[in-house]
Symmetry: C2
Subunit: 443 residues, 2 copies
């Protein structure tokens, strides 16, 4: 929808048709855990724009429950199946944007297609998860995968009084953090009663016999865990089958290869969002990062270019943020592990400071880990775990990474200080000072 609305802004004369396989367009999938947890009242609150608004205000012809089944890049047409009328038709195009998004990763395990095993992606999922959460007979919830969405969902179900178990195949949750920082999240989760089981792979899902097939158990190497509902939080995979079948080049993890203008390998065909690749500005490598921020930016760039303007998407630095209970978590750039994998020789330092002036009540505390390149002092990444008011400071470091600043530059930045907001050296600068000493020590 971002591509469509930006194309509209640039070219009032374009005929713009949007096909959506599901029932909804333009909604916040990231809001689903907050809907299930009760902060958001109803599914409709997550809608940014209704198809009617898009039609009336932006003159975009949005057709929901229309599934594009094939793309013919030579004939310049798409084949569409209209679900309600159950008929198939073909529509020609001058320019095509593929924005098929991503789907929750579903490993091939026995029973994974049971109706009580759900991803967190569409508003159908949202409704279904909310129905489970608010059902008094829903007492036992298993979350498979301890990523952002998995942990947000764990907290949402705890709020309803359910017993929640998180199963994580790796040795720590939050795979996008280094283990030492992820450990801090374990403590928070356990604090609200979540049973976090690391190094625990799932073998399958078994529906309960003799019942309505509406619940079952999760089989692990350590035995079965009963579950009224299972939430899949194992990450997502790009939905690129349509693009693949059309002959478009795919890259890392099967995501669609795009250039900085969001052009695919085929002339006049564009891709944006969770189905497409991005360039990582720190590692210099293509990455698949399925986040709403990236999707919106890529869509905007595609739309502007389609309308004859010029815009580029210069890449990501891998920023992400969440909140688990009252612990805030953020990361940007490369972890220690990722820096090594990308070929950097790096140092990493961790500092713990108060968030505000230490002499104020409830100053709170936060830990900052900085990763920097040996020799140059180039910032490579950061992780933050802390109390309220800590995590959004990752933006300072994300901006610094974007500009290729060094640890020394971070010390010099003119960041805002007053006692209710920071100590006189902002926590990220205190972190930089420690990193600078570590860099000097290894020179």
């Amino acid at each position: 929808m971002s591509a469509a609305s930006n194309a509209r802004k640039g070219r009032p004369d374009l005929e713009i048709v949007v096909f959506e396989a599901g029932e909804w367009v333009s909604y916040s999938a990231c809001g689903i855990p907050y809907l299930v947890g009760g902060d958001v009242k109803e599914v409709d609150d997550l809608l940014v724009r209704t198809p009617r608004e898009l039609r009336d205000r932006l003159h975009i012809d949005v057709r929901t429950q229309h599934r594009v089944t094939a793309v013919d890049v030579h004939e310049r047409s798409v084949e569409v199946h209209a679900d309600r009328k159950d008929r198939t038709f073909t529509l020609g195009f001058d320019e095509l944007v593929i924005a098929t998004g991503a789907k929750p990763f579903r490993p091939e395990l026995p029973g994974i297609d049971a109706p009580w095993v759900r991803g967190v992606q569409t508003l159908v999922d949202a409704n279904e998860l909310l129905r489970h959460a608010s059902d008094v007979s829903c007492r036992e919830v298993v979350v498979v995968g301890g990523g952002y969405i998995g942990l947000e969902m764990a907290e949402a179900f705890v709020r309803w009084g359910a017993t929640v178990t998180v199963l994580e195949a790796a040795d720590h949750v939050m795979g996008s953090l280094d283990a030492d920082f992820a450990e801090r999240i374990h403590a928070s989760l356990r604090g609200i009663g979540v049973d976090v089981r690391t190094n625990t792979g799932v073998l399958g899902f078994e529906s309960r016999k003799g019942e309505s097939n509406d619940r079952g158990s999760v089989t692990t190497e350590d035995g079965a865990i009963p579950a009224d509902v299972v939430v899949l939080g194992m990450g997502v995979a790009p939905s690129s089958e349509l693009a693949d079948a059309a002959g478009l080049a795919l890259g890392v993890k099967g995501a669609i290869v795009v250039d900085r203008q969001q052009r695919t390998s085929v002339d006049g065909v564009w891709a944006a969002g969770d189905c497409a690749l991005s360039q990582h500005r720190v590692s210099g490598q293509p990455v698949h990062i399925a986040l709403g921020t990236v999707a919106n930016k890529q869509g905007r760039v595609a739309g502007i270019n389609i309308a004859g303007g010029y815009a580029t998407f210069p890449g990501v630095v891998g920023t992400a943020i969440t909140k688990v209970c009252n612990t805030e978590v953020a990361r940007t750039g490369l972890t220690e592990g990722e820096a090594a994998a990308a070929g950097f020789s790096a140092i990493a330092t961790t500092t713990e400071t108060s968030i505000r002036a230490g002499y104020l009540p409830d100053a709170g505390s936060m830990a900052v880990k900085l990763v920097a390149e040996r020799g140059t002092g180039l910032l490579l990444g950061a992780q933050i775990v802390g109390d309220e008011g800590s995590a959004k400071r990752i933006d300072t470091i994300a901006t610094a990474l974007w500009s290729r600043l060094t640890v020394g530059d971070l010390i010099d930045l003119d960041l805002a200080y007053a006692p209710p907001f920071s100590s006189v050296w902002d926590p990220v600068q205190t972190a930089a000072r420690k990193a600078e000493r570590a860099l000097a020590a290894v020179e």
Copy 2:
């Protein structure tokens, strides 16, 4: 103390003597309003390090109540008056750091030296203001000058139940903001009952006759306002008399001229903190910015260089932040007015957005004003006024200014998003998108 402790870290063998005219060293002057307002329990909480700690841990010979009365840069010595013993002596130096700070601006008005007219600078002021605030007979407080400290003190006294009047000679408080943004603060102040009188110059201060000379009234063109205590919040002036008498070059507002290593115009004499100038990275001009952040950074640089290391202070971008009641305020770079004065042709746009995802309860709102150069789109400055969680986002823009980013770059930044922290386009990016449209419109 920052210069002294950094010099110590680099050179364990140096003999380091610190002369301080007052009783305290190494304290947070910025914390005084929070002490007076009751958030901080006692004056000692504002001490970072005691003279004893500095002596014992860092082997720095701190001598309080020692006033340096003259510097002889040819003889390389200082003349010192020891208040307690009431004697004067001379001490030679190899390297001298002048860190005499700033003093509250006191216009030459009749009665301004009355004991009930106080600045907010030292811990003596802090004790005296706290004594007034907690005195049940202190009912009427006048704050002269509506800058950061003045408004923070106004709020502190309101908390004690006093009637507070703020007198501001200009047409709006917060002179470091444009008028349209300062207006938003007026509303907050009035909301807690502060009587804000703009365009109101002070003519003098009159002590009440027949009483203990411990209160009086403030004379203005619109009549006299009774006052149990007057707080001077008219900004500060560098304390550079000693440097001037020693023949050091002074610049804007009489602050000491320093190079990027914090060297003054005289070899072996350094200056740092509120008495020294800084370079403004956006305007390219020397500025006097008396803030703890700048002072700490400059002191660090001087200390490292004195110890034979190499460090530079590459300047400021003019970042500042505060909180008035529950309204947060921040600014960085140049205002519209400052941009014009610095010779830029600039556009300015204001956006109002929710701080978090709009569908969450208590999402809060914030206004962002961006100032950018026509043609290049170079970011020149920003102002933020908003609810809790808004103002510290100025750091993203401060970092962008530091790196000389454009409005287009700000749109592209990979900032952190999750519903409890932001909308999918961070408020500063929504502001950048509006600024981009304004730039396109004037091209």
